[in-house]
């Protein structure tokens, strides 16, 4: 159970920079798994749900998927450890089953799910039994991540020295395709509402795990498609109060990025300079930089 005094009391915003080298950070199902791209600006995109998936995977890996850091929306991975889990933390009397619309009961069920599952505490979840709106909103909200510069995805043709079907045996090999972004730095922005944290019980410890997840989420997500991806810089804005001390967009504007050489296509993180304007920050906001 979460100690009430540990529940988050400050609003936060964050900016995360991550890079990809010769990989596909987030395929677009509409475009044959090409990297997502903004058709107007040619900037690369990474969807909010893609980043949340990686946070979930990291927390599942780091915490072993057990309560209170269990992950509700899993990728097909751990199927066997369910029986070991202790379910009997809370008992509800049998007669209460006749009252599924009872708001107290609905609250208990929601509480049980929040207590046990990290991703429900952090991101919220749609639970059918909630009486009025049917969902819990979590404190953490991600936007779409955008690449700093336009990306030029490349289509790489690869060959396999084997075939899948016998009738193709004389062909000896098959051709495949993969899409890569030669290099890009993406910027993701997010918000953490203290008011919603208090509703789901998202704690200071949960927050620290979240920062760890942002920094380390690509370290255990390597695959043939992703190439070399890593988090490069995390800038956290901590407000002194639960409601916040400055507009989010003004804080995001404090973090600017400069290309060191406009002539050369960016191919490394050192081709960029990230500037955090500490001087013009609002009172009551602390800027924490983590790498």
């Amino acid at each position: 159970m979460i100690n009430v005094s540990d529940v988050l009391n400050n609003r936060y915003e964050f900016v995360l920079f991550f890079e990809v080298e010769n990989g596909n950070p987030n395929g677009d199902p509409d475009a044959g798994n090409m990297p997502r791209i903004d058709p107007e600006t040619s900037q690369g995109l990474v969807s909010d749900v893609c980043l949340k998936r990686k946070v979930r995977n990291y927390v599942e890996l780091a915490k072993g998927g057990s309560s209170p850091f269990d992950i509700y929306v899993r990728e097909k991975a751990v199927l066997n450890d369910i029986n070991e889990l202790a379910y009997n933390e809370l008992k509800i009397k049998p007669e209460s089953k006749k009252l599924p619309k009872d708001p107290d009961q609905a609250k208990k069920i929601t509480q049980y799910m929040c207590d046990r599952f990290y991703d429900i505490r952090a991101f919220g979840a749609v639970m059918t039994m909630e009486v009025n709106c049917g969902q819990v909103r979590g404190p953490i909200q991600f936007g779409f991540a955008k690449s700093l510069d336009p990306i030029v995805p490349q289509e790489i043709t690869i060959t396999r020295m084997a075939v899948a079907n016998k009738k193709d045996a004389d062909k000896e090999r098959t051709m495949g395709r993969k899409h890569i972004v030669p290099y890009a730095v993406y910027r993701a922005e997010g918000y953490i509402s203290a008011a919603l944290a208090q509703k789901t019980g998202f704690s200071e410890e949960d927050l620290e795990i979240f920062w760890q997840a942002l920094i380390n989420m690509f370290e255990n997500d390597h695959s043939a498609a992703r190439g070399k991806m890593s988090s490069r810089k995390l800038v956290v804005f901590k407000h002194d109060t639960a409601l916040g001390n400055a507009p989010a967009h003004k804080l995001f504007d404090l973090v600017t990025v400069k290309r060191n050489d406009e002539e050369k296509p960016p191919r490394a993180f050192t081709d960029y300079s990230i500037i955090v304007n500490n001087k013009e920050k609002s009172d009551g906001v602390t800027i924490i930089e983590r790498e």
Binding site: D30, I71, I82, L90, K91, T128, R137, T241, L243
Partner: protein
């Protein structure tokens, strides 16, 4: 209406989903009054007050973009949770890769609105609730960027930037008179979540979102 407020909200994307097209979401052309109300409530709301959106100003051209994402197909089942709470052995996880739907969303791009609104006090208002107080709280929060939660443009992944607008509403780039068709006005939570529709006209980018009395009943 001495207590009207004007809030400017803008963002890169927005999706005010049409209820008739929500399996694969298609946004309305403009923000709905209910979405505008949600934005105001994210900044300041109490059971003592109810927000009334008077006008929505659409400052930028209406542009769409399509985004397809992998989403999960089902919701959390109440029965499974109860079984787990009672000590039953049941798999309480959801496997995203097995329970998957690919859904496209036709969303708005690069939006900028001004919401003109006021509020009325409800019968839940106590002795200490008065319009001046709540108006002050709202304007103070909107000015300094404070909010209960970051407001959003239809869906939570499309965050809204906001700022209190104290001067004149900027001129919209839209100049025509446009029939927006039937749109969701809001959900009537007092009457079994009954949706209310209206048929707004957008004139020079301005939509009057006040319902005429006959329609209200």
């Amino acid at each position: 209406m001495g207590y009207g407020i004007k809030l400017r909200v803008w963002g890169d994307y927005a999706c005010f989903t049409r209820p008739e097209m929500k399996a694969e979401r298609v946004s309305y052309d403009v923000m709905t009054p209910s979405a505008a109300r949600g934005i105001l409530e994210a900044i300041h709301w109490k059971p003592a007050l109810v927000w009334r959106v008077d006008r929505i100003h659409v400052l930028k051209p209406i542009k769409f973009d399509s985004i397809r994402r992998n989403e999960v197909a089902s919701k959390i089942s109440e029965r499974n949770i109860k079984t787990a709470m009672n000590g039953g052995t049941i798999d309480l996880h959801q496997y995203a890769s097995e329970d998957r739907q690919q859904r496209a969303a036709l969303v708005l791009r690069d939006v900028d609105y001004v919401i003109e609104a006021h509020f009325d006090l409800t019968d839940k208002a106590g002795a200490s609730d008065n319009s001046g107080k709540h108006c002050d709280i709202f304007t103070r929060r909107a000015k300094s960027g404070q909010c209960h939660m970051q407001p959003y443009l239809g869906c939570r992944e499309f965050s809204a930037n906001f700022d209190l607008l104290e001067g004149e509403v900027p001129q919209s780039v839209l100049t025509e008179k446009r029939d927006l068709g039937w749109m969701l006005w809001d959900i009537d939570f007092a009457h079994d979540m009954q949706p209310i529709f209206f048929r707004p006209m957008m004139i020079n980018g301005v939509i009057d979102t006040r319902l005429v009395k006959e329609e209200e009943t």
